[in-house]
Symmetry: C2
Subunit: 444 residues, 2 copies
């Protein structure tokens, strides 16, 4: 498909291109446009039918959106913005430099301009900032037939008609109704009798994470959003929720690797910004690790008389860090999915204790066999190393599982209690155990 | 709400309970039931209207689903299973012990039984295993009016009517049509003229991850699934996709913390299974870390004459590990979201090189100042430690960013090239650098 169109473009047969392209999915058209050079991109964009152009525009990269807006006429801008869903228009304007925003706002009617400004004022990551206002509203006195006629008259501009919202004169939300119920009902039925009054809804200021969990819990495809006076002001649709879930997961993952979360794609972020997001944690953890170094220093004499002890440091530190990271990852993810609550702390404690005993003893035994039979290390030293290893694994799993829960309890983000921080804490504990045991054991 | 109902239950006023409860969302009813003791749960479940009971059943925990099936009569089982959507029935049966499966299958009609068996045979995590068969199918010769009548006659049992599928006599998929288009169209319009022929679809054997990315790319709410002869056999709906996205993210996260992914919730998994999922990687990484230990052993004489060198081991190892984990996490996540491709390897390489220079030099300078001014360490040793640190950060970021891409290139899962493995590799490199520089630098 793409190849045929590319060929037509090469040959400047734009009329044929237009015919081919209007059959395509708007996402695919957007991807096709992004492969062209800027001149051709612009020509092709301009020949798109008006109703398709806006859809395609919302799937194009920010950089090219800006280029298009800067290149087209005021009237063309008006055409696009009036066809865009409000949430897409706002998403795009949020990322544009002020000259582009001005150019766009200058070319929209007053009502839309007011709405856009209102939306730009909602806090980031709130329901208000992700909702759209293109929903179907019905009155409860309507019959099914009247409702369907109302939808036929207004539905073309709505983001979805699959769920309809019933509001009173003051725009207060009274019920919801799926298009399925509407179609399956007799046409004289009064909406009041078939609408669902147990409505799941959100407030404009609710956090997007809260909203995502409502979608998951109730298997919703759209969620009404009300203001503080309970007036219906917008809806959030599920396609935005999927983006939010990805975004929240990425954020957690970045935090778990000791970084401030990025706001843009990796490849679009400059090396300087990337470095800035990583340095703070690297510094904190580096300084913390020097305290671990001080533990070694305290046992300098012991080490002097038995340098071989140093050779086991990496194995004990790494195993402790890995064992702790495993536990903290499981707990952090479990809490993010709502499977583990802070009240489960005792259950988690005993479970991890058991797991650490099973894992720790296995590791210690394998290591003991390896040290004695393969490396021909003295049995006493081997036993000392392996009992340190066992204790380290147990403590690592305790620290790794309990700290994320404790963080949540005091309203910190559990995601920071992940691998890197746990490893640093466990390292200090592990080396204290190791040298503590060694100095007792070897009587030095 | 719940408190009123709980009180009515306490007072055994089940008729009033029934009235109250039928107003509620089925998810909330399920949560309410799960808070009751088993006797009351069963009483309440049995008084639910038939059409609500099946919905509620699909949101109850597996343990209680099993309890209910084991406790109710054959006729009641038949009622529930015939009302359940096929995908929910299959999800539930997949987790049940064979006696429960037998009891259920004995009580379903032959056609459903056949279908269930067919679904149970699709590979895990394939489109076939997550799809459902309750979709609306239309013929392209129909008028809009005929289509709407067809939907009215059959829609009640469909999982969604929001997207309708147009098939030919041989059940081959010919087009899709949203309910919106259908409602907005004139009633004499022929389906053929308004259906979308550029259909996005999947094959029964496609992996669920592939399907999730189609939903994301095209903002779909449902996706048709065809067999090898292009016949439409089912649809996947977006509520299942959200579960799949969560599941895939959890899986990646577990792998990135060096564990085999769990199949059940953490709290529902036994300590033995948890340990089994962690031990293999802990063993592999422990053995690998002993090689790092061997590097130290090789420099035993150097350490003997200057034990203070050991005190910097944790700081260098940990900083290297953290720097590497940051890079690998960013790259693994970027690839999972489709933002970074294997062909971007050079871009990534130079970006990480720059980042590592900025971060590494900052860390080295801070550390140098600290060592010289606070810890009063000899300038030569401080310089040696800090140049090892800088080199370690650079190498860690190179290894951390390139290995996940290399893994993907050779079709390994990039998620295993995360923190734990990267740390182990970087540790060995870091200590080689450190002792290598130290022995040259200090001329020992």
């Amino acid at each position: 498909m793409n190849e045929i169109i590319m060929k037509l473009i090469e040959e400047n047969r734009y009329k044929d291109v237009r015919n081919e392209i209007t059959e395509m999915n708007i996402v695919d058209i957007a991807h096709l446009l992004m492969e062209l050079d800027k001149k051709r991109l612009l020509i092709l964009f301009r020949i798109l039918p008006k109703e398709i152009a806006a859809g395609v525009f919302s799937y194009i990269s920010l950089e090219l959106q800006q280029y298009i807006i800067e290149s087209i006429t005021d009237r063309e801008i008006n055409n696009i913005v009036s066809e865009l869903f409000l949430d897409d228009a706002v998403d795009f304007l949020e990322e544009m430099p002020s000259n582009v925003v001005k150019k766009v706002l200058r070319n929209t009617d007053e009502e839309t301009r007011k709405l856009i400004n209102q939306f730009l004022n909602y806090p980031d990551y709130s329901a208000g900032s992700v909702m759209t206002i293109e929903f179907v509203d019905l009155k409860k006195q309507m019959t099914v037939k009247e409702a369907l006629n109302h939808i036929r008259a207004t539905g073309i501009d709505k983001e979805t008609i699959n769920t309809c919202y019933v509001i009173d004169k003051g725009r207060k939300l009274e019920g919801v109704l799926s298009i399925r119920k509407l179609i399956l009902a007799d046409e004289d039925t009064i909406i009041d009798n078939i609408m669902d009054v147990d409505v799941i809804y959100a407030n404009t200021l609710d956090d997007q994470e809260t909203i995502a969990s409502l979608f998951k819990k109730y298997d919703l495809t759209a969620l009404p959003v009300v203001d503080n006076e309970n007036r219906l002001v917008g809806i959030v649709t599920i396609d935005d929720i999927i983006d939010i879930i990805d975004q929240e997961n990425t954020e957690d993952l970045h935090k778990m690797a000791a970084m401030e979360p990025l706001e843009e794609d990796y490849l679009k972020t400059s090396a300087f910004v990337l470095a800035k997001h990583r340095i703070v944690w690297l510094l904190i953890l580096m300084i913390s690790a020097t305290f671990t170094g001080n533990i070694i220093k305290r046992y300098e004499e012991l080490l002097q008389s038995m340098v071989v002890l140093a050779a086991f440091i990496p194995m004990i530190m790494d195993t402790g860090g890995n064992a702790g990271s495993q536990s903290s990852t499981l707990i952090i993810r479990g809490m993010a999915l709502g499977e583990i609550r802070t009240s489960d702390v005792l259950k988690v404690f005993f479970k991890e204790l058991k797991v650490s005993l099973i894992a720790g003893i296995t590791l210690a035994l394998v290591n003991f066999a390896r040290l004695v039979f393969f490396e021909r290390i003295d049995i006493a030293i081997s036993a000392m190393v392996c009992s340190s290893l066992l204790l380290t694994v147990i403590l690592a799993k305790m620290v790794g599982s309990i700290l994320p829960i404790a963080a949540k309890k005091i309203r910190l983000d559990p995601a920071i209690m992940a691998g890197p921080l746990i490893t640093t804490i466990v390292d200090a504990v592990a080396l204290s155990i190791y040298f503590g045991i060694a100095s007792k054991f070897l009587n030095i």
